[in-house]
């Protein structure tokens, strides 16, 4: 199924002969989308506007009185060191997370592609990490990385890599890596499944022709698989970028943004400032900055999506 398939009805013709039946049909069409549209306006559209409005006010945690402060929050944010640290921490979180998910997903997909016995079993097994609560994955990784009782330390000790247990999540230098590993684990199955579907739609004769020409496996991957998979990879990494950017549950459960805020991303900070500390206005201003970044991703995504003359 293709989401970008063009619709075949011709809007222009029907508008010329606007019969009574057509008007009635149109009215029914609007009636049917109205509940969903109104619901989205109320639950998503309104909060967007409310966030913009709140970002112009100061609303301290201990008071219900709002004071209009204009763009002051934005000025404060852009002049604060925290903001740039958050951008850096969010950037590395997204870059390493998406790269890890993409590479691991590709690796799984290319090995599942061929004539594999028990493919359904493998596919289901590889899919499971995606489908369980992030909070549960997060506590399991916390347990694996536990400084005293964790399995990771036990393995590293056994292999002689380390001489005594290390506390990854308590160490400000490497805690974010301890969290990003969990995030990669959670996000890899989606990539693997999408890439597998993409790989299976590559015409087999391309490989056969290459094999006759004596192309090596790496060359086949480099000159057939990758170019054929380009649009799928682009789409999947864009989606993954968005999801990684906004991922909350995993970080919140593993570290709550700590130690000393080194695992906090922009969205973690939004939650801490806006809801935990109750500074709705400042939190809203951070959210608006988050919107703008998301919007940037969304525009790129939609451009890629509707590129090449394809209509919705």
């Amino acid at each position: 199924m293709s989401l970008a398939e063009e619709h075949t009805q011709t809007g222009g013709d029907s508008r010329l002969s606007q019969s009574a039946a057509h008007v009635k049909r149109n009215r029914r069409a609007y009636l049917l989308i109205a509940p969903a549209a109104l619901f989205l306006v109320a639950v998503v559209g309104y909060p967007i506007l409310e966030t913009f409005r709140l970002s112009l006010y100061r609303s301290p945690a201990d008071s219900t009185i709002e004071t209009f402060v204009g763009l002051q929050h934005y000025v404060d944010i852009l002049n604060s060191d925290i903001f740039y640290r958050l951008l850096w921490q969010t950037g590395r979180w997204v870059a390493v997370g998406v790269a890890g998910k993409t590479l691991l997903g590709l690796l799984i997909a290319v090995h599942l592609k061929g004539d594999i016995r028990g493919r359904k079993f493998f596919r289901t097994a590889f899919l499971i990490p995606w489908g369980i609560p992030y909070a549960i994955s997060a506590v399991v990784f916390r347990w694996i990385e536990h400084p005293q009782f964790g399995y990771l330390n036990a393995i590293l000790l056994k292999l002689g890599v380390i001489e005594q247990g290390i506390g990854i999540l308590g160490n400000p230098d490497i805690a974010w890596l301890g969290v990003v590993v969990a995030d990669i684990w959670i996000g890899t199955p989606f990539m693997a499944i999408i890439f597998l579907a993409g790989l299976q739609s590559i015409p087999q004769d391309l490989y056969e022709a290459a094999a006759i020409d004596g192309a090596e496996r790496w060359h086949q991957f480099r000159y057939i698989t990758l170019p054929q998979l380009k649009s799928v990879i682009l789409m999947a990494t864009l989606l993954s970028t968005i999801w990684t950017f906004v991922s909350f549950d995993t970080i919140w459960t593993m570290t709550g943004g700590g130690p000393i805020s080194t695992t906090a991303t922009l969205v973690i900070h939004i939650y801490q400032v806006g809801l935990q500390n109750g500074h709705l206005g400042l939190g809203a201003a951070y959210s608006v900055i988050g919107f703008l970044l998301l919007l940037l991703f969304a525009i790129v995504y939609l451009r890629v999506y509707t590129r090449g003359g394809e209509e919705l």
């Binding site: 549209a37 309104y46 499971i128 489908g131 609560p133 009782f149 549950d249 919107f291 998301l294």
Partner: protein, 281 residues
């Protein structure tokens, strides 16, 4: 030459399966760590360094979880939230998707694109504004405080998914039923929905999982511990001053069992739903 080719094929097989098993081992390791820890006797789970294989199997943790935590209540709440979200989402998504698949109207393209953009607006960047909406509607500490936002954020996927499938049902089928005197609602429930069963199953599974797995809404809008779902319950056990890892991991295992069952039966639908959006055929 053919022999050499054959050997090469065999070698390649060994390499592919070896790689798959290694990758599977990596991806399954956290489950192994979780499951094996819960079967260790209490003294062993808190011994350093960890034993990779339990020295003896104990069901003590499961007995303790059953008698000392609210795990059953959390599972029940998860079901209420997930089923509520599924019902609300489908009630909104089916008419909208059907309308878009069957009619051509001014603003359809805008509607569908706007829905796609909603998918980008992750709940967490909206949480401050959502907080305001939920409190104004007086929904705090009700299941609806979680169901309403969860439905909003699963709606885009559902509308697009069903829209794509509804378009594949031949209009002629519906027209002949209409001539036979069926109402439009009957056409939808008796002809269109049965023909698009795979899409419906994918929609329901996706929505159910989404609502089952989310922590954020429950964390923010439900402070009444009697309404916690599984992720929130697990989270509350980490938040405690002294985390009881043994109990928490056991609750986690119990919390994912319904999902494992779901996966075993509905894997193909889940995959169909996941790939629908991102791969063009």
């Amino acid at each position: 030459m053919t022999m050499a080719g054959h050997d090469e094929g065999g070698l390649r097989r060994v390499r592919v399966y070896g790689m798959l098993i290694a990758l599977l081992g990596i991806m399954m390791f956290p489950f192994y760590a979780m499951f094996s820890s819960t079967f260790k006797p209490e003294s062993e789970i808190f011994s350093a360094p960890a034993t990779l294989v339990p020295s003896q199997l104990s069901l003590g943790a499961y007995v303790d979880v059953w008698t000392q935590t609210d795990v059953l209540l959390w599972i029940a709440n998860s079901f209420v939230i997930s089923l509520g979200t599924v019902v609300l989402t489908l009630l909104l998504a089916i008419p909208a998707a059907y309308s878009c698949a069957r009619n051509d109207f001014v603003g359809k393209r805008t509607f569908l694109l706007a829905v796609l953009v909603v998918q980008m607006f992750a709940p967490v960047v909206l949480i401050v504004g959502l907080f305001d909406v939920i409190s104004r509607l007086g929904l705090f500490n009700t299941y609806l405080a979680v169901i309403v936002p969860a439905a909003a954020f699963t709606l885009p996927f559902n509308i697009w998914m069903l829209y794509g499938y509804f378009k594949t049902v031949p209009v002629e089928l519906e027209e002949s039923a209409r001539i036979d005197g069926a109402s439009q609602l009957q056409v939808l429930t008796k002809i269109v929905l049965p023909l698009t069963k795979p899409a419906l199953v994918a929609s329901i599974t996706y929505t159910f999982l989404y609502a089952w797995n989310r922590l954020l809404f429950v964390l923010t809008f439900l402070t009444d511990s009697g309404k916690y779902n599984i992720p929130r319950g697990v989270f509350s056990m980490v938040g405690a001053l002294q985390t009881d890892w043994r109990m928490m991991l056991t609750v986690s295992v119990i919390g994912i069992i319904p999902l494992l069952v779901l996966f075993a039966f509905l894997e193909q639908y889940i995959v169909a739903g996941m790939t629908a959006g991102a791969v063009k055929e």
